[in-house]
Symmetry: C2
Subunit: 315 residues, 2 copies
């Protein structure tokens, strides 16, 4: 049914599907739902304080029998990174997805603790560095992905075949994947598995605010854009805050002006608290394809059924 079993074997999961770690969106409830649906569920640590991460990990583990299928995504750019790692290890988590930093920094230590380590990359060059650093797999994330993104603007369509031709560790494709069609496409491109963010955000169990989900339901093609390129590129949904960023960028504002406008806690404000005007709404380009907010279980079932139908055309 699936052309590769490498990711299923690596994580002892049923399906080659990873629920992407998303700050303020993938807490204990969503990651447990993903694990219960046969996928790998990742708690998005983001800039969380260790106590809050501890709470979400305990919740995730308490809500699933598949404790091995609960992992953590830790972006290496916030100040609590090391405490987040120790908190995760103390909770028995042995699946670490790291991003936004060097794969060399923690891979060795984490492997010594018996963990499986995956690093997120947006270019073939970084994918090589990941393999050299000894990670078990890479997430290769295209330009169409939501949230923080690479500077090279390489799309999933171009990124995956190139990386596939040059590294040997398993590849998880991300960016633009939200239905059976794009999942099957990712496998053709050379991916062993897919990671979905936006599609998991649009489920009953995600902690994204209802007002935010509603906005995504109504999003049309072209309603997201990669912004803040002078600071850290991030794909945002168009809203009042987006327009403010856009105005600054239209007049070539400096990195400092962008950072000042962004301020603190804007993503939490928009995505968790539902201030969809002034909040920062990180989301993938695939948001224009979202037409429902099902349970995680139902969503996965639908994708799998559609996928099985779709691949019949090749038989």
């Amino acid at each position: 049914m699936y052309p590769s079993q490498r990711i299923q074997t690596l994580f002892k999961i049923e399906k080659p599907i990873i629920q992407g770690g998303m700050v303020w969106v993938s807490g204990g409830k969503l990651s447990a739902a993903a694990a219960n649906a046969g996928c790998l569920g990742l708690v998005g640590a983001g800039s969380m304080k260790p106590e809050l991460l501890d709470h979400h990990l305990k919740k995730a583990i308490s809500l699933t029998e598949n404790k091995h299928a609960i992992g953590v995504n830790i972006p290496l750019l916030y100040k609590y990174v090391e405490e987040q790692i120790e908190t995760s290890l103390r909770n028995g988590v042995r699946v670490f997805f790291t991003s936004a930093g060097s794969p060399k920094k923690y891979t060795k230590y984490l492997k010594e603790q018996g963990a499986t380590v995956v690093h997120v990359c947006a270019s073939p060059l970084l994918a090589h560095k990941c393999q050299d650093a000894g990670v078990d797999a890479v997430v290769c994330e295209g330009f169409e992905a939501g949230g923080h993104n690479g500077r090279e603007e390489i799309t999933t369509m171009c990124l995956i075949p190139e990386i596939k031709s040059t590294i040997s560790i398993p590849i998880i494709a991300a960016g633009g994947i939200g239905c059976a069609r794009s999942m099957a496409a990712a496998f053709c491109l050379g991916a062993d598995a897919v990671q979905m963010g936006t599609r998991f955000l649009m489920t009953e169990e995600s902690s994204a605010h209802d007002a935010y989900k509603e906005l995504i339901l109504n999003a049309k093609a072209g309603d997201t854009k990669l912004m803040m390129k002078k600071h850290i590129p991030v794909r945002l949904l168009k809203n009042h805050f987006f327009n403010e960023v856009s105005k600054l960028e239209d007049r070539c504002a400096s990195k400092e002006e962008l950072i000042h406008l962004l301020g603190k806690g804007r993503a939490k404000k928009g995505m968790l608290e539902g201030d969809v005007d002034d909040g920062e709404l990180e989301i993938g380009q695939v948001s224009s394809l979202m037409t429902s907010i099902p349970s995680t279980k139902e969503m996965i079932l639908n994708i799998e059924n559609d996928y099985n139908e779709l691949i019949k055309a090749f038989i």
Copy 2:
């Protein structure tokens, strides 16, 4: 073998592969080679004077038995559009790919002349307008494509499934397609056929200058970028001219400054005449995957063989 036969039926061709019309690159020789390899070959009219287009069409037709598989790509933004149309009709051409303008403008007239009409679009909204205008098929071109591009920056991965779910005419995917993997991926996304530009440019028969081909052979991921967004967005290979554009854009130069820098004939200078420093080098993101300059026939054979191998994984 191929999941859809709609484009093969529409154009009476053997393979669901279109050689994209490229100014200064796809003249009579390349489009005849594409037709001879079982694909649809398009002479790229670009800003050509009618006499030069006449020369290339006559050459294409003289070099192939498959005269029905020779078409013309006419961007609707240059001054010779109507003469280009009449020249093509006089030469017996009945396959028209139009782009960069409204599909309403010439579709009715061309259909009355017995032609098959395809329009290029980069958004679901325009795809709808194309269907309403009565075209026979659409080329849906993602952000990763070379040359002129849409303002919405929608990638092939997101564009094709969305368009597939909303229109009923055949879909030709373009942007990021240059090998068996991406061709199979495009079919999964919902495309009936693929259009390739960069991959056909990198053949013996294309009239791209050798110095330009050499540069593409050495291109790495991230070496193209969508530029000139204030004028007409165009994906360019990095070179001296690219750096000049980049400098202007970094200081928010006006559209007029960009047009002034561009001047006249820069694409011809770079792509046909081989001035790879000061010329404008239009190319797709997939250029970093190009590792050879085979004959068109060999290239198509390789892709087809690889494709047949690849899809076995799904059986």
